[in-house]
């Protein structure tokens, strides 16, 4: 009896294996992976894209910006999502990749609300994160030790915060958290803490800091008064296929740019007044509208 059952089990297993082996690989599947900060937009866009285009299956994965860029370079996925420029990642041949900027997110320093500080100068901000200023008392706040919480090394949010917020200074070694959610929880609960998060995560449990009197708002990002912001990139190989291009066009369509992106707290790239290159050079983006395909070649 047992033997017969076992044999049946093996048979079923064998059939199943051969079935999966025979399934034709759908040519119309797109795989995206990378930045977790960018993921909510991509997922929402992908699910509405899947509804309209039944023949294409868009599959979105996380993994981090580094994974996204290196996998697209290897050809393992079709689109790599990243919140940093590919050329800022070591070990990537950025010249093989094409950059498509889809959205913009602001990044703001945040503190525990009990700290009593709402505005700092950029110099003071650098002082805090490099460990020169150790108490909130020196900044007009309460007599509380400053506790810095960093995002992990290599995180896009951290890279961009150091680049634009700390003027290229590196943050000192301190606690590191791998997710924005945890950072928000810690800063909300621990007096004296400071960290940095992307705009969509701002809540009333934490206090965003103004820098040099400029408030962290979407409007200030659009006019570049608020300097700490970053593009959400979609990288493809220079030689990409029709399906990939169709999806990228959809990411620049009104449905995504005007509905999905603002709904999730990000800024559509099409509404930016300026275009900023990797090293910070600003150019006008044609009356507040970026080019329709939103892409530009990324020379290394």
């Amino acid at each position: 009896m047992f033997n017969r059952k076992l044999r049946l089990g093996f048979l079923v297993l064998a059939v199943l294996i051969s079935l999966t082996g025979c399934r034709p690989l759908s040519k119309n599947s797109l795989t995206l992976a990378g930045s977790t900060a960018f993921q909510p937009i991509v997922e929402m866009a992908a699910s509405s894209y899947n509804l309209r285009h039944k023949k294409t299956l868009v599959n979105v994965q996380g993994g981090g910006s580094g994974t996204g860029i290196s996998q697209v370079e290897e050809g393992a996925i079709d689109i790599g999502n990243s919140d940093v420029f590919a050329s800022e990642k070591k070990g990537i041949k950025a010249s093989q990749l094409k950059d498509h900027q889809i959205a913009v997110t602001g990044i703001t320093p945040i503190v525990n609300p009990k700290t009593g500080v709402r505005n700092v100068s950029q110099k003071q901000l650098i002082g805090i994160f490099t460990g020169k200023i150790k108490n909130w008392r020196y900044l007009g706040g309460k007599n509380l030790k400053i506790i810095v919480i960093n995002r992990s090394i290599g995180s896009g949010t951290r890279n961009n915060f150091e680049k634009w917020g700390l003027a290229g200074h590196r943050s000192m070694v301190a606690q590191e958290q791998s997710s924005t959610g945890t950072v928000c929880k810690i800063v909300g609960a621990t007096p004296g803490t400071i960290s940095y998060i992307a705009f969509p995560y701002i809540s009333n449990k934490i206090q965003p800091l103004s820098i040099n009197g400029v408030k962290p708002s979407k409007q200030n990002v659009k006019t570049n008064k608020w300097k700490i912001w970053a593009y959400e990139h979609m990288y493809t190989l220079k030689k990409n296929d029709k399906n990939t291009r169709a999806f990228l066009r959809y990411m620049m369509s009104n449905n995504v740019q005007q509905k999905i992106i603002p709904k999730l707290g990000y800024i559509p790239v099409s509404s930016m007044n300026f275009k900023r290159s990797e090293n910070g050079t600003l150019s006008n983006s044609e009356g507040g509208r970026a080019k329709v395909d939103g892409s530009h070649t990324n020379g290394s």
């Binding site: 990537i92 992990s152 070694v173 590191e176 791998s178």
Partner: protein
């Protein structure tokens, strides 16, 4: 022309054929397991050595360096090595007394009727996923430490408490097995000679069970050393040399888990993470070797 009885005898019977098939099948299973282990060790060793061979980082500076900043070419793993070791030792110190007591209760104190259920409960603890322990750490242990000890609450102590909870069932069950391994006859003899239960335990059972208890501790340490997800959630992940119990620290595992997604494959930052993995593998193998050694001593 052979006679039919002879052919029948020389022919393999169905039972012996199925025997052969069974042997082949089990051999295949173990072969695959061994293959996987060898491949894994080979792969990690290869990737882990790249940092030293290809990127020319000296092994000495890797093992003794304090600063871990792969983006700027500082590859000192000492703070993580220390973090892993301290948190492991602390966890064993916290967990062992409880495990030991539990094991004695389950295996030696005979009048308790519910001891089988107790053992079941402890074995069930093993099945709880690491993430759940980490979640308990973030939502209970860390806030508790924050309120009582100050600071953020993330740090060595939080990590050690969570790890202690995780290795408690491992050490307990292995200790129970250690006590069960002592023949019942010895206990009867001792009791017949007029020794109390405590005397029997101390003079007879413990000395015999000792090597296996040491093994239990070593397995607990090995588990604590290799734990990644839960510890990463509560230790604070600061690559600093820890100065006191509440200071945030980092372990080899936490740095690997956090760093892998954000580093580019083939880059020097990525190679450095693989070197950490190699270090972790070597130390875990050492733990296993010691455990085996402790077991052999008994025989």
């Amino acid at each position: 022309m052979m006679d039919p009885i002879q052919t029948d005898l020389k022919k393999r019977s169905a039972a012996s054929k199925s025997e052969k098939r069974g042997q082949c099948l089990t051999f295949l299973c173990i072969g695959i397991s061994v293959l996987i282990i060898v491949a894994l060790i080979f792969f990690i060793t290869y990737k882990g050595l790249l940092l030293f061979l290809q990127d020319k980082v000296s092994i000495l500076s890797f093992l003794s360096g304090i600063s871990w900043d792969p983006n700027n070419g500082n590859f000192g793993a000492l703070s993580m090595l220390l973090g892993s070791m301290i948190v492991t030792i602390l966890a064993v110190f916290l967990a062992f007394p409880f495990s030991f007591g539990t094991a004695i209760f389950i295996s030696e104190i005979k009048f308790s009727r519910g001891r089988n259920y107790l053992r079941l409960a402890i074995e069930m603890l093993i099945g709880i996923p690491a993430v759940v322990y980490g979640f308990v750490g973030i939502s209970v242990v860390v806030p508790l430490l924050r309120v009582t000890m100050g600071g953020t609450g993330f740090g060595l102590l939080a990590g050690a408490i969570i790890l202690a909870m995780m290795i408690l069932p491992t050490i307990s069950t292995l200790c129970v097995d250690a006590f069960k391994g002592v023949p019942e006859m010895y206990r009867y003899t001792s009791r017949a000679l007029g020794a109390t239960q405590w005397q029997t335990l101390r003079r007879i059972v413990l000395p015999i069970a000792k090597p296996r208890i040491v093994t239990a501790i070593l397995f607990g340490m090995s588990q604590a050393f290799g734990e990644a997800v839960a510890i990463q959630m509560v230790i604070g992940n600061a690559t600093l040399i820890p100065t006191h119990l509440m200071s945030p620290a980092a372990t080899l595992t936490s740095v690997i888990t956090i760093g892998m997604g954000d580093s580019v494959r083939g880059s020097i930052e990525n190679d450095a993470l693989w070197s950490l993995a190699l270090l972790l593998l070597l130390i875990s193998l050492l733990f296993n070797l010691f455990a085996r050694f402790a077991m052999r001593k008994r025989n």
